[in-house]
């Protein structure tokens, strides 16, 4: 089987502190508006009547997402120049010399991973900190997490260890692109299919 690097995310311990997001931004020197890894805040719940009293069942969970370096990345498929390419270890990279900034990958990606860099007129995205990977070091986001909620490794090994969850609201149907991600879900994430769930920090992601 082809090698495929993947992120592991333990949503059940994530506090939504955004250290991963900030470490990524800092390490990759990303300009304003570009966030390769971002933390989505999901809120839900309502008032519920219990006997004669009213209570609530509100909940919040977080979802830290970067590029999932999908096995069947639609960005790779639609890119007209071949700038979007997969390394041997499964990491999806953009060759800036080839990119023409047509933003087609941005339309197609259901994880909003490729983001447009207006200064360069090119697309940009999470590169799995391959410079660190090649030196045997962890990516910046993984190293930064105070809860040790993030990890990385070979997809099949992570799946064997943690299971096959790769779809938590608001992530799309995983069959669209086969994302290389393994998630240990937050206890309340199962409720996300219910009514009234919304993203709490739309302006941040």
């Amino acid at each position: 089987m082809a090698k495929q690097l993947a992120f592991y995310y333990d949503q059940s311990v994530c506090t939504g502190c955004k250290a991963c997001q900030v470490a990524c931004k800092d390490d990759n020197d990303l300009s304003s508006g570009i966030i390769w890894r971002r933390v989505v805040e999901i809120n839900g719940g309502d008032w519920i009547k219990q006997g004669a009293t009213w209570g609530q069942n509100i909940f919040t969970y977080h979802l830290s997402l970067s590029c999932n370096h999908c096995e069947e990345g639609i960005c790779l498929e639609v890119c007209p120049t071949g700038a979007m390419h997969k390394r041997e270890d499964g990491v999806v990279l953009i060759d800036e010399d080839k990119c023409i900034g047509c933003r087609y990958c941005e339309w197609a990606c259901p994880y909003e991973a490729p983001q447009y860099n207006d200064d360069k007129g090119k697309m940009s995205k999470c590169d799995f900190c391959y410079n660190y990977i090649d030196e045997g070091l962890p990516p910046a986001c993984v190293a930064a997490c105070p809860m040790r909620a993030l990890d990385f490794g070979e997809l099949s090994e992570l799946q064997a260890k943690y299971g096959l969850v790769d779809n938590i609201y608001p992530m799309p149907d995983p069959s669209l692109t086969k994302p290389a991600i393994v998630i240990t879900p937050h206890a309340d994430a199962a409720l996300a299919g219910a009514e009234g769930v919304s993203i709490g920090n739309v302006e941040e992601i």
Binding site: E77, P80, T81, M123
Partner: protein, 310 residues
Amino acid sequence: MDTRDWALVIFTICAQMAVGSFIILGVVHFFVERKSGLQEADRMSDRALLAIGPVLVLGTLASFLHLGSPINGWRAISNIDSSWLSREILFNVLFMGAGAVFAVMQWRKLSTATIRNAIAVVAALIGVVLVVSMSQVYMIRTVPAWDTVATVLSFFTTTFLLGAMAMGTAYAANYTYMQRKSEPGCGPEGAQCDLLRYALRGLAVASIVLVGVTFVIMPLYMGYLSNDSAATQQSADIIVNDYGVVLGLRLALVFLGAVLLGGFIYRTASDPTRERWMINLAYTAFALVLISEVLGRFLFYASQITSGLG
């Protein structure tokens, strides 16, 4: 919608109008040749053909404006293997090339009419493939509002509607020019005058039918958007709530331009004393339908919502 996406509105509208015009020109040429012979048909078509090239070139230049790095633009053709965007560019270049070869041969009357016709048919087929690949660019599985047969159907109705309208205008302009030069056949009962009426009647009928198709697709498509998924519901919300006025205007203008004025064109084309009316109506109808199609294409891009977090 990103401001730069207006470049795509211009590109797709111009390229589709060029393909539609080229095909309509061929079909009309076929019928008028049977009616009045090759010489009269060529007199009618040759200058109208002149209008198509600049529209296609304008659209292609506009397409570069939507790129972040236009200098690198030529690379867009490199991923023919899997990217419909590459294929679209390829067929755009091929259509431009085949159309140009035909146009030069037609004006210089090189080779025989049969061979010229064969080249025109090849160019027209490439044009059809171009419109198909244009729709495939948008029919991506992660954008459910675009990934429907409505995209192909609406691209082709735009192609033929704008083609018919643009060629109606081109014939009328050519006729007016010939009249001013006092060329033969442009007076009452003249062959050119006769052909213009004949062509405009046919184009008016075709346009009314195409608007009928649009008015059938539209409600079905909106029904699909409201029911399919969260992403398509968001698209429907943008079209109806954010841009309801644009949608209303788009539908009103295409109805006014193609159906109402189309009907008037048909009637005035049957009455030799109302020639100026017929010609001015043809110009007005084209302007209204063009505005309508631009607004419709704006809505298409504005309602782009990717599944998931896109």
